[in-house]
Every structure is written in C-alpha cells, then in structure tokens.
Symmetry: C2
Subunit: 217 residues, 2 copies
C-alpha cells in the first residue's frame, strides 16, 4: 500500500504488536461472526459517537490545511461520509439497541474516550502532519480489521454495516491517500516535529486496542 | 427562503442594488444565452480558479467550526462537490478554451481576485459567523442568478454546467442551510462582531458585481 521505506509503513511496523492486538481483537472477530453481545456493541457505539463530532472537526481542519486540491478532495469526501452515512448508522443502531437519549447526547465518558478526545484536539492544534498522525493510524487499523472481516457476512445491519463502512476499494483508497499525504507532509518536518507525530501515531495505535478492551469491562 | 426578520434576509435587502447588479449582470445573461465571449469566460474562470483552493480551505474551516453535526454535514457535502465536480469543470473548460498551463497554475491576479482572497482569509481567521458572512452572500448570489438562468439551456457545457452547478434543489437547499446557520450563529454575536460580519457581507456583495465587470475589462 505504501513504499517500503515510508514513515507510515515504518511506524506501522514499529507498533506492530499493538496494531495486531487491535486489528485481531475479540471485538472485531465477534462483530464478523455476528456473535457480539449487544451490551458490548451498545457501549462501544455510545462512546465512539461521543467523539465522532470531534473527529469531523479534525477532518474539516484536514480539508483546510491540505496544501493541494487533491488533499482537500480526499478529506472532503471522507468528511461527507462521516457526517452522513456513518452518522445515520449510529442513529439506527441507537434505535435498534434501545440506547437512552442521554447516552446518545451526553454519555459518561470512559477514560479511553477522554484520551481519544484529547488526542484529536491536540492534533487539531498542530499542522497538517499532526492531524494526519492521528487520522492515519485510526483509519488504517479500521481498514485492516474491516478487510479481514469483509468476507464474513453477519446477518444484522449493526454488524455488517460497521464492517462495510471500513472495507472495500473506496475506503482502502482513502486510507492509501492519507498515508501518501502523511508521508509527504512528514518529509518536510524537522526532527522535533517528527518525534512528536511519531509519538502520537504510537499512542493512537495503543489506544485503539485499549478502547476495544474497554467495551468488555 | 428565510424568515422575514432574519439577519441574512435583512442584509440581502440592505445591499439589494449591488445584489441585483451581480445577479442580473451581462455576464450571467450572456452565459444563459450561450453568447458569452470565450475570452471573457476564460479570463473569469482563470481568476475564479485562482481562489477556489482558498475557498475550499474556508469550507473546511466551516466543517471544523460548525457547532453541530448537521452544520458539519452541510459544509462537508459542499466541500466534496467543490473539490470534485466543480474542480473537473474548471479543468475541462481550461482544456476546451486552450488556457495556458501558467494561467491555470499561477495567473497574474486581477485586483478583484486579490480582494476575494483577502476576504476569504480574513473570514477564516474569525469564528463560524465570520466564515459564513462571506460564504453566504457568495453562494446565495450564485444561486439567484443560477436559478434565473436555469430555464435557458445553452448548448455548450462551458455555459450549461456552470449554471447547473449553481441551481436546482440541491444547491438551493445548501444555500438555505447556510442562511440558517448564519442566522443562528449571528444571534450569539455581540454588537461589534455583528457590525463586522454585516460589513463583510456587504463587501462580498459589491465584489461579486465588480468581479463580473472585470471580466469585460
């Protein structure tokens, strides 16, 4: 997907244990098998939805800070999906799983959710490479498990649509584009900034696994 | 389209002469009639393209600063069109009109184009209402002339597609949404900020007419 010696590929390799822990987590395997407990899924979706607006904010900033029209197009398309198809998926799940209005609008946050929010906000205060240093691992990990589970066809939409949103050529092309943008932007960073984005990439990878763990707590 | 006493409707009325000068300009009438001189259209498109990237930046900031998911969705959808369909329209026109590569990438800017760039950048440094105070008049004026010319069906795509991009229920719904967002955001401004966004709205309306004039210079 990316050239061998790109920063994105190097960072993925550096964090490969944590990466694999997330992409092969019991949560995604049960999602693919259609055996995921509704309580586990409901808790996960409530928490995820609590920072999807902050994620949309960060993607808007990526549109703004992308240095080329191609980069702006990449993130504009993603922002459109995130705020429409993906948003209605949450709403339909909340209805089908009977999630209370208070949990949809203003849930008590897990520590892991607060860490996600903090990472997203911190990234948004930086430049383009800072933004991509959290968007890339988040979306790439979701692509990796989404592709792995895309052959399983669980019966319920709550399971199948979450897989469909994170697999297929459209989403794979998006993630490949984010990796290209990240590698190009990282090529212009000084050593301190490179350390900062590399560190944040790693924290995001760790957090993805921890977030799946938390859903079973 | 908006309640009688909304700020958006009031500002449109306050600048109605300049508004009408833009929306009934010779440029849009010749566009609808299919009689627009290729030199005039080519010059206009080259200048317009020189700030469409800055416009996409501003729309990305609108996605980021919109306080609700509905607002983020509104601008994410527009950003997607602006960076895809509208972008390819420019590229195909540049091919068909034989525009030189240097004029596509880095043209000598008209004074009016520099004023557009300045307004867009100034708006992007402010809050949500500041951003909308330039996006709303720009898109609303284009909707008004686009709707007026939508019954004319000029034969060449250079004319017909520019009308199609600025008319129809999708674009009308977008502009109505921007007006609602602007009115809601303006309702939370203090007097000084209200003056600032009102003034900028007026400058944008004036500039739209001046930009059409400049195409004939």
């Amino acid at each position: 997907m990316t050239p061998d010696f790109s920063l994105s590929a190097a960072l993925r390799m550096r964090h490969f244990d944590a990466w694999t822990r997330a992409t092969t987590h019991r949560f995604v395997q049960e999602l693919g098998a259609g055996t995921l407990d509704d309580r586990v899924l409901g808790g996960y979706l409530v928490q995820d939805y609590a920072f999807v607006e902050e994620l949309a904010t960060l993607v808007g900033l990526a549109v703004a800070r992308a240095p080329t029209m191609a980069g702006k197009r990449l993130f504009a398309g993603f922002a459109a999906i995130l705020t429409s198809d993906e948003n209605t998926y949450f709403e339909r799940c909340f209805d089908s799983l009977g999630i209370a209005p208070s949990d949809r609008a203003d849930p008590a946050l897990w520590p892991e959710s607060r860490q996600f929010l903090q990472l997203l906000r911190e990234a948004g205060e930086g430049g383009y490479a800072d933004i991509l240093s959290v968007l890339l691992p988040a979306e790439w990990i979701y692509l990796d498990w989404g592709e792995a589970e895309s052959a399983s066809k669980p019966a319920r939409f709550e399971h199948s649509e979450w897989i469909a949103l994170h697999s297929g050529p459209g989403f794979a092309g998006f993630v490949a584009g984010v990796a290209r943008e990240f590698d190009a932007a990282a090529g212009m960073l000084d050593a301190a900034a490179l350390d900062r984005v590399s560190d944040r990439f790693g924290r995001m990878v760790e957090l993805e696994g921890a977030f799946f763990d938390a859903a079973y707590r």
